[in-house]
């Protein structure tokens, strides 16, 4: 191996890469903009939608209940609720979003309530429809209040205190430090993102430097130069690897700052909410990156090897797109609740790194597992580079017709 030649190839590939709008967009622009836009976009949109739905005056229909005037009066007094006249097609009206809900009051409800034989009040609504759920919730909350007031009246009539219904309180309290809470909530997500993005960041350069070079007719040009195939592959590989790392680093910075600002905004509005406690240590994030390094090497080498079989950019894309699933499936599996790191799983590439990242983020360092996973992924990575070099030496692949 001639490191000087590897450096020359790398520098040239880097120059071309920095001038390629397509790969720059996928490696730099998308990761930098995608998360802030996605996170702020989704959150602002959902808060606008929820706020709008909450403020809306829901049209609700009452079925029967003429013999229960007290209850009717109570329902009419609910804020943001408009009682509309009864119509037989109330089911269709709910489905067509003309009204949000319908309340069915059993016949003789008031009388039955006084004799403690009251039947069920039914609330009909459109499941999964936000505005219908809000309308139904308004009605349900009001009915619960009514039920509680009836209970209180009955207890008072029998001279019993309200505590007779709840003789003791139950409360859950978190004792885990904030970084562990943050880690459990977002840690697995960060490991997952680093893995997925190191893969996606490598796809375009891997294609461009192999199938792209064949398609443009420059493969024969470079092969006629005295550079050794090994040095050529390593120079190209280093560029794909750099692109992969750049994407992953930029994504985590972008994602981290988006969550940070989101957390700050959220803690200003609802300071007691634990869900937004994101306090990931820098050490953990660096450790995740270190664990992802051999995996990024593996991705870069495998993607280059596969893309080299293609004659055109388009053909290479059709080979590499299904490979995304090979990465996504184990990465997603690791995020599933209850999937824990075991010695067997520690040997499965991608899944092992994803699982150990989940642990690292929560501040748990099982050094034996970390060493095993790092070493095994390094072995896979070296094998992948070896395969890439061998593939570059196969005439049937380079000059496939």
């Amino acid at each position: 191996m001639n490191l000087h030649a590897v450096g020359i190839v790398y520098r040239k590939e880097l120059t071309e890469w920095l001038r390629d709008r397509r790969t720059l967009i996928s490696t730099v622009v998308v990761p930098l903009l995608a998360f802030p836009l996605l996170i702020t976009g989704v959150i602002s949109l959902s808060s606008i939608m929820i706020g709008k739905a909450e403020k809306e005056t829901s049209k609700v229909m009452i079925i029967d209940g003429e013999d229960s005037p007290q209850l009717l009066e109570r329902l009419r007094k609910i804020e943001n609720l408009e009682i509309v006249p009864y119509a037989t097609n109330w089911r269709d009206q709910i489905s067509n979003k003309e009204i949000r809900a319908a309340v069915e009051i059993p016949k003789g409800f008031q009388t039955a309530l006084e004799s403690s034989n009251a039947e069920t009040i039914k609330i009909y609504f459109y499941q999964g429809e936000l505005k219908s759920s809000f309308g139904a919730n308004h009605v349900q909350d009001s009915l619960k209040d009514y039920r509680e007031s009836v209970v209180k009246e009955r207890l008072a009539a029998k001279n019993l205190p309200a505590s007779v219904l709840s003789p003791f309180e139950i409360k859950q309290e978190n004792v885990a430090p904030p970084e562990k809470v943050g880690g459990a909530t977002f840690g697995s997500f960060i490991g997952y993102m680093v893995i997925i993005l190191s893969m996606t960041g490598a796809i375009y350069p891997a294609i461009d430097l192999t199938a792209g070079e064949k398609e443009r007719g420059t493969m024969e040009t470079i092969l006629s130069s005295p550079v050794a195939r090994l040095d050529l592959v390593l120079g190209k590989f280093l560029l794909v690897f750099s692109a992969s790392l750049t994407t992953a680093i930029l994504s985590v910075i972008s994602m981290g700052s988006s969550f940070y600002f989101l957390g700050r905004t959220h803690s200003m509005t609802s300071p007691n909410s634990p869900a937004m406690h994101i306090n990931l240590g820098l050490t953990s994030v660096i450790a995740v990156f270190l664990m992802a390094l051999p995996l990024a090497v593996l991705f870069a080498a495998v993607l280059m090897t596969v893309a080299l079989f293609a004659k055109t950019y388009k053909e290479a894309q059709s080979y590499l797109t299904p490979m995304t699933f090979v990465v996504v499936i184990p990465a997603v599996a690791s995020v599933m609740p209850g999937v824990e790191l075991t010695p067997k799983l520690a040997l499965i590439p991608i899944l092992n790194t994803s699982l150990v990242c989940k642990e690292i983020i929560t501040g748990t360092y099982h050094w034996n597992s970390i060493a095993l996973i790092f070493a095994s992924t390094c072995v896979y990575a070296v094998v992948a580079i070896f395969l890439a070099v061998k593939t570059f030496q196969r005439e049937s692949v380079l000059f496939r017709s």
């Binding site: 030649a5 020359i8 190839v9 040239k12 120059t15 071309e16 001038r19 390629d20 443009r216 007719g217 420059t218 024969e220 040009t221 092969l223 006629s224 130069s225 005295p226 550079v227 050794a228 005439e395 049937s396 000059f399």
Partner: protein, 252 residues
């Protein structure tokens, strides 16, 4: 100097089995001479030239280029060779100068020598006006000049041209032809393949007619004219191929 000894290349094809693209070809090409390799499409010309440039490895026999064996020392062979074909395209996102410098560096030139060499070549080929233009913005003629500059930057002793003028306009083709002629004047060993018979008459000191991978005839143009009793080179090729005519076309 180029010397091929029983050079053979067999490709394995899933449907057609073993294909002998080049079959036991032996010839010698001396410094200061231009050797023309003639034949129909699929005759084995490109495969032969690719083996000489060490882009493909022979499956039988061998070739020695400037004292280096193509199988044993492919990198040393490539350092002595300038290879130009219609398939050797340019990197679109590099400028003309960057591209030539890149190949100069890959050939092991130090920065001072490289700068001097690049300046000389750019001046000689009248390329200064577009040295900072990206290759994807160059005209066909400019691209060909850049390709020539790429093959010259390391001052190789052997030049290999595979149908270098195919698809080019008259003016660009003239640039290439005069460049090939200049290589001979500078004492380089030149081998090239072509379909254009006027180029053969004008340039070649020695001609080899190849068909179905086999070298069927070899000699100077006057020698071949005398041997086949035919003045027209196209007719000479047809006579040399004889009853085998058409097999290569069908195969390619």
């Amino acid at each position: 100097m180029i010397e091929t000894r029983g050079l053979t290349k067999v490709f394995q094809d899933k449907k057609r089995g073993a294909i002998r693209a080049v079959d036991n070809v032996s010839f010698v090409c001396k410094p200061g001479q231009i050797y023309g390799l003639l034949g129909a499409n699929g005759a084995g010309k490109t495969t032969t030239l690719r083996m000489l440039a060490t882009i493909l490895e022979p499956t039988g026999g061998t070739a020695v280029v400037c004292g280096h064996d193509v199988i044993e020392e492919p990198e040393k062979v490539r350092a002595e060779v300038g290879f130009l074909s219609t398939a050797t395209a340019l990197y679109p996102r590099l400028t003309s100068q960057e591209l030539v410098e890149y190949f100069g560096r890959l050939n092991g030139l130090d920065e001072a020598t490289l700068k001097k060499r690049v300046d000389d070549i750019f001046q000689r080929l009248d390329m200064d006006s577009f040295r900072d233009l990206r290759c994807d913005k160059l005209s066909t003629g400019m691209k060909q000049k850049t390709s020539i500059a790429r093959t010259l930057v390391h001052d190789p002793q052997v030049m290999i041209f595979d149908e270098p003028t195919t698809g080019l306009d008259v003016m660009t083709a003239r640039t290439i032809i005069s460049f090939i002629s200049e290589c001979r004047q500078r004492g380089k060993t030149v081998i090239f393949s072509t379909h254009i018979m006027s180029e053969v008459e004008r340039l070649c000191d020695q001609v080899g007619i190849i068909h179905d991978g086999k070298l069927l005839a070899e000699g100077t143009v006057p020698e071949l004219r005398a041997k086949y009793n035919e003045h027209n080179i196209e007719e000479i090729i047809v006579k040399a191929i004889g009853p085998n005519q058409g097999k290569s076309e069908a195969r390619s």
